[in-house]
Amino acid sequence: MSESETDTPDIDDAAWEAEAPPRRLAENEPEQLQIDVEGWEGPLDVLLSLARNQKVDLMEISILELVRQYLDFINNAEALKLELAADYLVMAAWLTYLKSALLLPKDPEVDPSPEELALQLQLRLQRLQAMRESGARLMARDRLGRDVFARGAPEGLKQLTETRWTASLYDLMQGYADVKMRTAPAVHIVQTRPVMALEEALQRVSNLVGAALDWTELSTFLPPEFHGQLRRSAMASSFAAVLELARNGRVDLRQEETFGPLQLRARSEAVT
């Protein structure tokens, strides 16, 4: 269904009553239909108007009569714009099918049965009608600003937020301490950190690598009593030492994978 069929997207056209009320079916003269699709809220709206003209309960209406009237409506709708008419025509086709199904001898194989389809149509019309009436009753209530009025010139209520600042004695102490800490001349005592010097590492690795026969991981050359920071320092120094030894052609280095353990052994020609 096209968007433009009923409610146009334009708010003013869609949501507010048009200046001139759309033409409706005259209650007593269904024959004098003035077809103007713009005034209708779709095929169901037309069907509901036609059904109400039968002046009986919606559950008692003659479906065949309703179909006849709707098809008349479509046939007389010369002004029907084609692009607007699609849904009306689909409904007409469906109603034609319904009519023939209702008139033909019952076929137990057909599901849903024409009677069920007719009932479904009646239930839908009933529900639309209920909401239409409810909407009208709602709009007829005593509405604020139309029938009942709030105070014209309320003084208004004011909310004033007053900020109260607070601080504790601890905040005060902390604040003063912060100032002191910040501005006091800073005395920095750099603690001697335990490190393994490069020379020391070079000495140790050179001594040990001769003793190893095969590929040996670098970490095994570190002094076993070193832990924590010192061990990391030893690792760094030993690594630098090994690079130095390799550059001098005294050891071979290998690594089986990226970031894998570094292995070394004394270069054979150097040994011989």
Binding site: M1, E3, E5, T6, D7, T8, P9, D10, I11, D13, A14, A15, W16, E17, A18, E41, G42, P43, L44, D45, D87, V90, M91, A93, D111, P112, E116, L117, L119, Q120, L123, R124, Q126, R127, L128, A130, M131, R132, E133, S134, G135, A136, R137, L138, M139, R141, D142, R143, L144, G145, R146, D147, V148, F149, A150, R151, P154, E155, G156, L157
Partner: protein, 218 residues
């Protein structure tokens, strides 16, 4: 209240606060101004009774209290006022469907009206603050669902949704049930067991899909 004099001051205070307010107020809001020493609800009832036959009424819509002029005096006050713009039929029907069925998705609204709902219709109703998006339905597609607001209740003078005109009758008559549920009930007797099962399966489908046999469904 045991303390008569105290109560009298509180009553005056509630009266003044409601009178000065430019929007309807909840009990909690009134308490914020008057103080929690007072039984605000009791005072509101007392005030409402006092004003019951006067030119001004104290009304409670959806838990929000405000003074407004008595409805029978509308003819005196309406004269020089810009009348509320008349909503279109599409918007009126859409509002009614949301109010009586809430929360509902747009597809459900369209299934009842048999036509598509333009975005503009819902926009206008939201701009009027009569409806609001109320989350999403946990069905495939998670459609947005709509419900009415307390401003809606205030504007139409409804204490709660139970006061919607005729809602009890509509519910009793099954007119607020989807068509397929009504179908199932109507066809309930004299059906074979197979048919009943089909019917049930159909009913458990999404509202808008289950009436696919008829044209005009969005």
């Amino acid at each position: 209240m045991s303390d008569e004099a105290h109560s009298k001051d509180d009553l005056r205070a509630v009266e003044a606060v409601l009178f000065a307010a430019d929007t309807p107020l909840s009990v909690k809001e009134i308490t914020g101004y008057v103080g929690d020493q007072a039984d605000i609800k009791a005072l509101l009832e007392e005030l409402a009774e006092h004003y019951a036959d006067r030119g001004i009424r104290l009304v409670n819509n959806g838990g929000l209290w405000h003074f407004q002029t008595a409805p029978d005096l509308a003819h005196l006050l309406r004269q020089e006022r810009e009348s509320v713009r008349k909503l279109s039929r599409a918007a009126t029907e859409t509002l009614a469907i949301i109010a009586y069925h809430e929360p509902v998705s747009r597809a459900e609204i369209e299934s009842i009206r048999g036509v598509q709902t333009s975005k503009g219709t819902l926009d206008v109703l939201m701009e009027l603050e009569w409806i609001r998006p109320a989350g999403r339905r946990e069905t495939p597609g998670r459609p947005l669902i709509y419900a009415t607001t307390s401003e809606f209740l205030v504007h139409f003078g409804l204490g709660s949704r139970r006061d919607l005109p005729g809602i009890a009758d509509l519910r009793a008559a099954g007119l607020l049930d989807p068509v397929d549920v009504a179908m199932e009930q109507a066809m309930g007797e004299g059906q074979s067991d197979d048919d009943r099962d089909d019917q049930k399966a159909a009913a458990s489908d999404a509202y808008e899909d289950s009436v696919a046999e008829m044209p005009d469904n969005p």
